[in-house]
């Protein structure tokens, strides 16, 4: 299996960041579900998808953890959230 990480450094502008997020999520839940998941996150926070930026990583991580825990359990979903947060810091 391929390693699971997000290359935030390559996100030069907003769309790239969203693309990188979708790629990160797609490795877990597939491309279509990943796109829909981000749209739902934006809808809940009254955001445009292009408004997403690394500042939302904490909230997004919690949102993601709640969605993934049904498959992986809470601890692993929390670890995935941690991956997202750490990747955003690098």
């Amino acid at each position: 299996m391929t390693p699971l990480w997000i290359d935030i450094n390559s996100a030069g502008f907003m769309n790239s960041y969203v693309n990188a997020l979708e790629q990160f999520l797609a490795r877990y839940i597939g491309a279509q579900a990943a796109h829909h998941c981000l749209l739902r996150f934006c809808a809940k926070r009254n955001l445009q998808i292009n408004d997403l930026n690394p500042l939302y990583n904490h909230d997004l991580g919690i949102f993601l953890r709640d969605n993934l825990s049904v498959f992986t359990g809470n601890r692993r979903a929390h670890a995935i959230m941690g991956q997202l947060a750490r990747a955003a810091q690098t």
């Binding site: 390693p3 877990y28 597939g30 949102f63 969605n67 359990g73 809470n74 690098t90």
Partner: protein, 266 residues
């Protein structure tokens, strides 16, 4: 999954079902034993998958309930095998039915807990895979009602209690088939998410299992069932698929544990 072993087993069974080398009473014991064995393998595999979750984890419950359901079904099948050997005729209804029905209910409860949690999540687009799953459920409902439920009530001369017990099986089958078809169609429409691969396999296996159950009910009503019928092989394959789903989940969780402990490349 030791795929080669399964393929060799299927090849042997295809040979046996085609050439019919054993008397029917011996074949009945062989077929029932193989089905019960596959059911036990599935129960152990799903139980091991449940064990990969933390004890306090609420998401461990569906896997636990499903393993208990499979274990109950296994005991029900063993009771049936023993009673058939002792009495030399069909022991329906007996204690085995209590185990089989409670096993079906318990498995269904596990599946329901997961489906209820999964379908409420944000990554599920509305109505995703709903139309094909409703179509499958309607076909199953129509087929089972017309070919099993109505004939059992109208044609059989058995006592009413026996007929009600006989009816419970197809009712549970329809419920389980609808739920598993909903999950299978959902994950199919989402292009089989990697994290849900085990659930996709499990849902497919359960669709196969319940289709075989409904078809078996039809064959019993029409007096067409015999121990060399290919439907026995379908049950074994369905249980082995469930076992495969458990192993897939174990592999996924192990992989996630390894990934979480490794450093993230910059």
């Amino acid at each position: 999954m030791p795929l080669i072993g399964v393929l060799i087993y299927i090849a042997i069974d295809v040979f046996i079902y085609s050439t019919r080398p054993m008397p029917e009473n011996v074949m009945a014991v062989y077929a029932d034993t193989m089905i019960a064995g596959a059911c036990l393998i599935a129960a152990v595999s799903i139980y091991l998958a449940a064990g990969k979750f933390d004890r306090s984890d609420i998401n461990r419950r569906p896997w636990q309930w499903m393993s208990y359901g499979l274990a109950l079904s296994f005991f029900g099948k063993v009771i049936y095998i023993i009673l058939r050997q002792v009495s030399r005729f069909d022991p329906f209804p007996c204690l085995g039915d209590l185990f089989l029905l409670s096993g079906d209910l318990t498995f269904l409860w596990g599946l329901w807990i997961f489906a209820r949690a999964c379908l409420r999540k944000d990554f599920v687009p509305p109505y995703s895979g709903q139309i094909p799953s409703v179509a499958i459920s309607m076909i199953a409902l129509f087929f089972t009602s017309a070919c099993v439920i109505v004939p059992v009530f109208s044609m059989r001369s058995d006592p009413l209690t026996e007929r009600w017990i006989a009816i419970l099986y197809p009712i549970l089958d329809i419920a389980a088939l609808s739920l598993s078809a909903r999950l299978a169609c959902l994950f199919w429409s989402l292009r089989q998410p990697p994290i849900a691969r085990s659930w996709f396999i499990l849902a497919l296996a359960y669709v196969l299992l319940n289709t075989a159950d409904s078809f078996h009910g039809f064959l019993e009503v029409m007096h067409l069932y015999h121990p060399y019928h290919w439907i026995n092989l379908t049950w074994v394959i369905a249980y082995l698929l469930i076992a495969n789903a458990g192993l897939t989940q174990i592999r996924l969780l192990t992989h996630l544990d390894e990934t979480a402990s490794s450093e993230i490349p910059s």
